[in-house]
């Protein structure tokens, strides 16, 4: 299995195609955060940050950073017209209250039912940290998990039942990986797209629960290469 999978950048690029024009969107650490750079031309996304910003623009240019204007990853950003500042508590009224159109989080494991584990590897050293992920996972109108399809040691990350500490239960709507786009539905996991060069059978082999699909499964969109 040495065929090239999508890169992290390409996963982000594909994930960006899930964002509708005008959406209010929160991006988590890792691959989700890369997505901001790939918003298709002609649409405007209002990025939300837990510290109380709606309407973040691109990273600040070198020399133009304002360290009071940072995203949740501590990166100095900019604003787009229509942006606003508010308190952290109000930012989480937006997350938990179901006001954000789309949220993207990284994942360590996603279960068949859409349970997400993304904040702690069992047995890892240190205290771990939850941050805003649990509020976001519970409240997002649509939650997209972007991650590699398998772990570095080849373990399957899309599983029947998560054995890592959970972030939230039954919260994931769509999984975008380096091998596939998969929707979590009441009838199980629906394989929507496969990475170019891969077959549904190959993706199924790297996925613990059953993937549902019929006929030819489209390739992950070309613009994502």
């Amino acid at each position: 299995m040495s065929k090239p999978r999508l890169t992290r950048e390409q996963i982000a690029q594909r994930a960006a195609l899930e964002l509708p024009d005008g959406a209010c969107v929160n991006l988590g650490w890792g691959i989700p955060n890369l997505t901001a750079a790939y918003v298709p031309k002609g649409i405007t996304i209002y990025f939300h940050s837990e510290n109380g910003i709606l309407g973040m623009g691109p990273r600040a240019k070198k020399g133009e950073e304002d360290f009071d204007l940072v995203d949740a990853m501590k990166v100095p950003v900019t604003l787009i017209p229509g942006a606003s500042f508010f308190a952290q508590e109000a930012a989480h009224v937006m997350t938990r209250g179901g006001h954000l159109d789309v949220c993207m989080l990284g994942g360590l494991q996603v279960s068949e039912k859409g349970d997400l584990a993304n904040w702690r590897v069992p047995g890892a050293k240190g205290a771990g940290g939850i941050g805003g992920a649990m509020d976001i996972a519970v409240g997002a109108r649509r939650l997209i998990v972007t991650m590699e399809h398998t772990s570095k040691d080849g373990a399957r990350k899309i599983v029947k039942r998560c054995d890592y500490p959970l972030t939230a239960v039954e919260c994931v709507d769509t999984i975008v990986t380096d091998l596939a786009v998969i929707d979590v539905t009441p009838d199980g996991l629906q394989l929507r797209e496969v990475a170019p060069g891969f077959t549904p059978e190959e993706v199924q082999a790297l996925t613990e629960p059953k993937l549902h699909y019929s006929g030819k499964v489209p390739e992950m969109l070309a613009s994502a290469r």
Partner: protein, 226 residues
């Protein structure tokens, strides 16, 4: 009865009465809005056995780091202690500091509840996770929820951009973060500000924290750890 001014001349004076064992909330997130001068003052003051509430646990010696380095903190409630919180992480691994790990929005909400006179609320966040351990679970309108209790403190240490002499506050951009909600949830709120202006010169429509929530003010040049 003469009303005392809320304005203190020095950081050391404003923290002078903080006792061992006090509970303290600290504002700040992502390097912005940390009351770093107040923290440094507390480090000099040396109060120990503190129970603190803060999104994170410092970055090196910066932000809350110095208080962990000095072993002033016994217990912390945090959402994301952070990999850069070296002193905290060391002490945590050795079991020398107690941690309550809380989802960030719920941390905010528990403080807001305290400030609003609400002792407990049901929350969908953390259901089925480690966060739910030991908490009452209840199905409301067909969805699982857990009971979360409000959280207050003796003191809030916060950072604002500008205050008037009464203590009305405005913040700067993302430096607002946890500061306003903490001001509502502490018995005594201490604020460090970059500038103090005349009463009446802040726009009443744009005041973020009304002075009712602010008890002590010190003007001091902002300190930042990037």
């Amino acid at each position: 009865m003469t009303r005392k001014s809320k304005i203190f001349s020095t950081v050391d004076e404003i923290v002078a009465d903080i006792r061992d064992g006090a509970s303290i909330m600290f504002g700040g997130f992502g390097g912005a809005g940390f009351p770093n001068n107040l923290i440094q003052g507390l480090a000099r003051k040396g109060a120990k056995n503190l129970s603190v509430i803060s999104n994170n646990c410092g970055t090196g010696d910066g932000e809350l780091g110095i208080l962990f380095k000095n072993r002033q903190i016994r217990r912390v409630t945090a959402a994301f202690p952070g990999p850069g919180a070296t002193y905290f992480q060391e002490q945590f691994d050795k079991g020398e500091v107690e941690l309550e790990l809380v989802p960030q929005g719920i941390l905010c909400e528990r403080m807001r509840a305290h400030g609003a006179g609400i002792p407990a609320f049901f929350s969908p966040v953390g259901v089925g996770t480690d966060v739910a351990k030991g908490k009452e679970e209840r199905v409301i309108r067909g969805k699982r929820h857990i009971l979360e209790e409000s959280i207050g403190a003796d003191y809030a240490f916060i950072k604002a951009h500008r205050a008037d002499a009464l203590g009305n506050l405005v913040f700067r951009k993302g430096a607002r973060n946890f500061n306003p909600v903490m001001a509502t949830a502490a018995k005594t709120t201490l604020v460090e500000v970059e500038e103090i202006v005349e009463v009446g010169s802040l726009d009443p429509e744009a005041i973020v924290t009304p002075f009712i929530f602010v008890h002590r003010i010190v003007v001091v040049q902002g300190l930042r750890y990037v």
